[in-house]
């Protein structure tokens, strides 16, 4: 008979890394499915490019399929993995940082894959078909790192949107989520109205165009940080 003694528990950092391992324990969700989607979309795009007789540049916006997938991953991280992490005696703080670390790793992986895809496209003149899925002149304006950063920022924003929306839904119900979305919509409309009143559309578009991909990605990451901070605040009082 051996009495159970308080065994040494992992360090705080170790436990956050364990949350990452928990998220990746089934690598399907965070690794293989995104890559599978990307691969399938590329194959479909190539087939379509072959079918199009037009000789000029053909663009595929297929990589946005991933965006929707990451939105779903963000939602499920909260609705399913959060309650599971609670049963694993993980603190909310550990769950939050571990989950964001996982999302960032996946976003970085996607950024690398898309950038490598962009290199291949520009080297082969669009897979020899003048078809472009990864490479756009605007995102590659600041070189491959800028292009990678834009993908990373967009992936993080999508994941955060799902995670954040699901958290609002769980804490404040369907009505709460609707009110927040209506509120965001109202703010956007108000912004449009102000720009229209000031007759500033030309200036705004000029500014956006001149901003370049890197600053714009940084703005997106800034939004991610703000949403993430409110997410943390909500998660701290969330009941699974």
């Amino acid at each position: 008979m051996t009495a159970i003694s308080p065994a040494a528990t992992a360090t705080p950092r170790g436990r956050i890394l364990n949350v990452v391992r928990m998220q990746y324990v089934n690598r399907m969700t965070f690794v293989w499915i995104p890559l599978l989607i990307l691969g399938a979309v590329l194959v479909f795009s190539v087939v379509i490019w072959v079918m199009i007789p037009y000789g000029g540049p053909k663009y595929s916006a297929g990589s946005q399929a991933l965006i929707w997938y990451l939105l779903a991953v963000g939602i499920q991280s909260l609705t399913l993995t959060f309650p599971f992490s609670q049963a694993m005696s993980v603190t909310r703080r550990e769950f939050f940082f571990g989950t964001y670390l996982t999302a960032a790793t996946t976003a970085a992986l996607l950024a690398v894959v898309t950038t490598v895809g962009g290199f291949i496209e520009s080297a082969t003149g669009g897979w020899g078909l003048n078809g472009w899925m990864f490479y756009t002149a605007w995102t590659w304006d600041s070189g491959p790192l800028g292009a990678a950063l834009s993908v990373f920022a967009l992936a993080m924003l999508t994941f955060t949107a799902g995670f954040w929306g699901a958290t609002i839904y769980k804490r404040f119900g369907g009505l709460g989520l609707t009110l927040v979305l209506v509120g965001i919509g109202a703010l956007l409309i108000a912004g449009l109205w102000v720009i229209g009143r000031l007759n500033a559309w030309v200036a705004v578009f000029g500014w956006l165009a001149s901003l370049g991909v890197v600053p714009l990605s940084l703005v997106v990451l800034g939004i991610v940080v703000v949403l993430g901070a409110t997410e943390f605040w909500m998660l701290r009082r969330l009941v699974p």
Partner: protein
């Protein structure tokens, strides 16, 4: 006795509903508790507040002397798998077990493997496709193999057949004998767990109405068996909480501790004393608590 959990004036409100009403109790180290009560009595709420999954509206909870909320020193020493536990979307049972092995420092993989075989749990099917009983088995295996110092089982038997339930009770006792720890088992199959639990905590409408050792609870009543007339004359003037008859033979469970006079009377009337069903006793106590409340409310009006 050292206590591992201390609860004072714990209250939980959901709007107008009071789920837990000013409750106080202590949980002693290395004891198996039965947390008993009707559906909606507040069992799950209490357990989720103790494990910091839920929040108290008022009151104080100490686990190993500390507040459990966001406390990475305390939480890994507890394991609470809910009755309606959710798992990541495409997770299979081995994924859940591998994750549990990361977070519970005393995790025993050998025990886990043995339990998987005992419960005949399919390892290749996604958890969301498992039957209710298999889903319960996943939770039971995590609870046992994590060997946490305080383990909560929230109606762990849902959907388990009689054989699987017995496997659970047997393994629990075996492993507890080798590795004593605090276990809090919520159940309403009271007679099934009666031989397992050393202490009884009965919660009813958010209040603790009983906090005693199982033996003391049993001592509160006696079942007498024998000829109908003899049983009835013994039971006259006593509160009978349960009565069964088969032809001329009647068995009656009467409240109250037996005095020496009672024992002599039983002997001379040729009556036998049989073990009391814990379930009947607790059902009666719960009803009595409810009656008491109605009377109090009546008096207030």
């Amino acid at each position: 006795m050292t206590s591992v959990i201390e609860v004072e004036n714990l209250t939980k409100r959901y709007g107008d509903v009071i789920a837990v009403d000013d409750v106080g109790f202590q949980i002693e180290k290395d004891v198996i508790y039965g947390l008993l009560g009707r559906n909606g009595a507040g069992k799950t709420t209490v357990m989720s507040i103790l494990t910091a999954q839920n929040f108290a509206s008022r009151g104080r909870v100490r686990v190993f002397g500390e507040a459990p909320y966001e406390n990475a020193r305390v939480l890994p020493r507890m394991c609470f798998v809910r009755e309606s536990q959710k798992y990541p979307d495409d997770a299979k049972a081995p994924h859940a077990f591998r994750t549990a092995s990361l977070f519970f420092p005393n995790w025993d993989q050998e025990l886990c493997d043995r339990l998987v075989a005992d419960f005949q749990l399919p390892m290749n099917r996604r958890i969301k496709k498992l039957s209710r009983g298999q889903l319960s088995a996943v939770g039971v295996i995590i609870g046992l193999a994590s060997r946490a110092e305080i383990t909560f089982f929230d109606e762990p038997y849902l959907g388990l057949d009689a054989v699987a339930r017995q496997v659970f009770y047997d393994r629990l006792i075996e492993d507890y004998a080798e590795h004593p720890r605090t276990i809090i088992l919520s159940s309403h199959l009271i007679d099934e767990v009666a031989n397992l639990i050393e202490r009884v905590l009965v919660i009813d409408q958010g209040r603790i109405i009983m906090d005693e050792t199982t033996d003391d609870v049993r001592g509160r009543a006696t079942t007498v068996v024998g000829d109908a007339t003899a049983v009835e004359s013994f039971a006259a003037g006593r509160e009978v909480i349960h009565r069964e008859s088969l032809g001329r033979v009647v068995s009656a469970t009467v409240l109250g501790t037996l005095t020496d006079d009672d024992r002599r009377l039983l002997a001379t009337s040729g009556l036998d004393v049989a073990p009391v069903s814990l379930q009947q006793l607790i059902v009666r106590m719960t009803q009595r608590a409810a009656d008491g409340r109605t009377q109090n409310e009546g008096a207030l009006r």
